[in-house]
Amino acid sequence: MAAILVSLVIGLPWIGSVVVWLAGNKRSSFQHTTAVVASVLTAITSLVLLAFASADAVIRIPLGASFGELTFVPDGLAVSLTAIAAVVGSLAVIFSVDYMRGDAQLGRYYFLVLFFIGAMIGLVLSGNLLFTFFFWEITALCSYGLISFYNDDPKAVAGGMKALIITQVGGVGLLAGTLVAFAALGSFQVSDLLKNAEAIPAASLAFIAFSFLIAAAAKSAQFPFHTWLPDAMEAPTPISALIHAATMVNAGIYLLARFYPAFESVPSWTMSVLLVGLISATIAALSAVIATDLKRVLAYSTVSQLGYMVYAIGAGGVLASQFHLLSHAVFKALLFLAAGSVIHSVGTRDLRRMGGLGYKMPFVRNVFIVGALALAGIPILNGFWSKELILEVGLEHSSIWAYGIMLFGAGLTAFYTFRMVWLVFFGVEREHLHYHAAGSAMRVSLGILAVGTFVTWLLFGGLNGLLSTTLPFHEIEHESLVELVTAILSAPATWFALVVVAIGVGYSWVRMRGFKFFGGGALQPLVDTAFGFDSLNHFVVQLFSKSAERLRATQTGELNWNILGIIGGLLLVLVVLWMGA
């Protein structure tokens, strides 16, 4: 039964993608309908799959002796991420029906979106490292294709290329780690790596651990690879919601969570993970404070929240990070889709031109406020419970200064969230912009996500149960929802955090009174170059192009020179053989 469900949950979006593409752009309503049907069916299947989670492989495709078997393992980590990807994916597709109405290239759009959903689900369900890499690369391809979807716009194309190159650096890290693991263990299976991690020589294990960390950091836009996500906001907004908030960037978190038991014994690995998360969270929060583009603020906040998740893993709280991943997927998708409604109706993304829109777009204003409260960590909403759990884990297992910085970050989050809400929906209208109410498809998605923001924290018991029973190598204790609630409400960490959040909100109130929300001050030059990393990226790209130009001289295309090259290669092989013998 689980095997059928797994094949359906990957196969349905892929079949849907091909059908939409073949239908042709003339039949756009058919394309819309097929895409929605495919994604909703996938979502339902993934929810059913939750009941069948198990730690054993359910589909095995033997590939001969050298590659082992390609397996799909629907354990707790996998099925929870599958459900998130499929459900948020279906809501983003429903939203796209209104957002992309009238677009000339719907076939390409829906093909990439559905292909991506299937690949993301395959990535988390896969039990073979090589298979994971295969799906990883497919998600990178779809992300590139969707970021540069408006391919007449040079900014979109540049953003897509940047995202592709940086995430591919991560892909190299994943492949290198996989190959070294294969060399040490003789097998590509994830369960073998988790089981026999102590048997691998320390240097190889450290190499694998840090390569996977590089892969995760590049995919999840963490320090030092944090520059691509803000530039990827040229994508259509449903894509930003789906790929760059709720699913693809979670692949890095998934990787770290999955392999945490294997790597926690590597010296200074957990410290590196913690630092990566900490630095990303802080610099992204600082950048969000002075950003003037609505989607960029949300992008920076995504990087920051992912930093919280990575920090949690570094401190040993895998369950906390997965819980925050669930909450973040829901409220961040809500925020992005609501921002998409706003942008779609007023036609601009610049915060300096918006203002006072709340009176004209009440529904969108309300759902946006719900999402913003969850992001800031106000009690009752799901963001509060998961963020408090992370901060509590951090207080217990990491050093006090790290906890202090994350706490400060929570205050910054509250500040920039309030600033963003105020600048878009309240205050004085700075420019007379056109607006229209959100379409019905948009309202459906937004409404469902808003309800989700209120209730997904109730799923904690179920999530905990899934993770603790089906992940044999992570030692996750079984805690129920009631225990969680009481623990959080009684922990001192929670009260510190609430005080800091109140200070953040209060400070933003003060600035609002004096209307000092623009003007970056000392931070502006730092943020413009992404804390120096944009220039680093630029330098590396220039280095490669220049050396490629110079090396072009060796490719003459003439027969005799090519044969000289072949003989040179033969000479090299002979020398290596001779030395080895």
Partner: protein
């Protein structure tokens, strides 16, 4: 005794090969190629592979020579610019290093002198390696088709700007 026979034949083959490469006219080179075939065929016969030797002689000294003569008759035997693209000393050094290295590596490998009775080629081919025979047939068929296709084209448009 055997050593000297082998050595002489092979030395002749190498000299013929060198002359074939440096000769200016293609017809001369074709004659030298035929000589190489004959000498190699003799060595093969001495090794005991009699049928392969016959095949080699008939194909190498016969068929290939005729083909080359035909090609030269169509293409023309004009003297081309003799300067080679890769400078000769570089080529010499590269090839020399590769050959000496290979020679070193190969030297101690042959110590025993295994004597086997020569096996009839027909048995080896038809009983054990039937797949090889089918591959050969397929190859010959495709080669014939290819040649017919290539040579039946009437003169296509000459590409101008061949000199850059």
């Amino acid at each position: 005794m055997e050593t000297i026979q082998y050595g002489l034949f092979l030395l002749g083959a190498i000299v013929c090969a060198y002359r074939a490469i440096v000769s200016k006219k293609i017809l001369t080179a074709a004659i030298y190629l035929a000589c190489i075939s004959a000498l190699v065929s003799a060595v093969l016969y001495l090794l005991g592979a009699t049928q392969v030797a016959v095949m080699e002689l008939s194909v190498g000294a016969g068929l290939v020579t005729v083909l080359l003569v035909y090609a030269v008759s169509v293409v023309g035997d004009d003297a081309l610019d003799p300067a080679s693209v890769v400078p000769k000393p570089l080529a010499f050094v590269m090839v020399g290093v590769v050959t000496i290295l290979l020679g070193f590596m190969v030297f101690p490998a042959v110590e025993k002198n295994v004597d086997t009775s020569s096996l009839a080629l027909s048995i080896a081919l038809w009983k054990n390696r039937v797949l090889d025979v089918w591959i050969q047939i397929a190859l010959i068929f495709s080669g014939v088709m290819g040649v017919l296709g290539l040579l039946s084209e009437k003169t296509p448009g000459r590409i101008e700007e061949i000199h850059k």
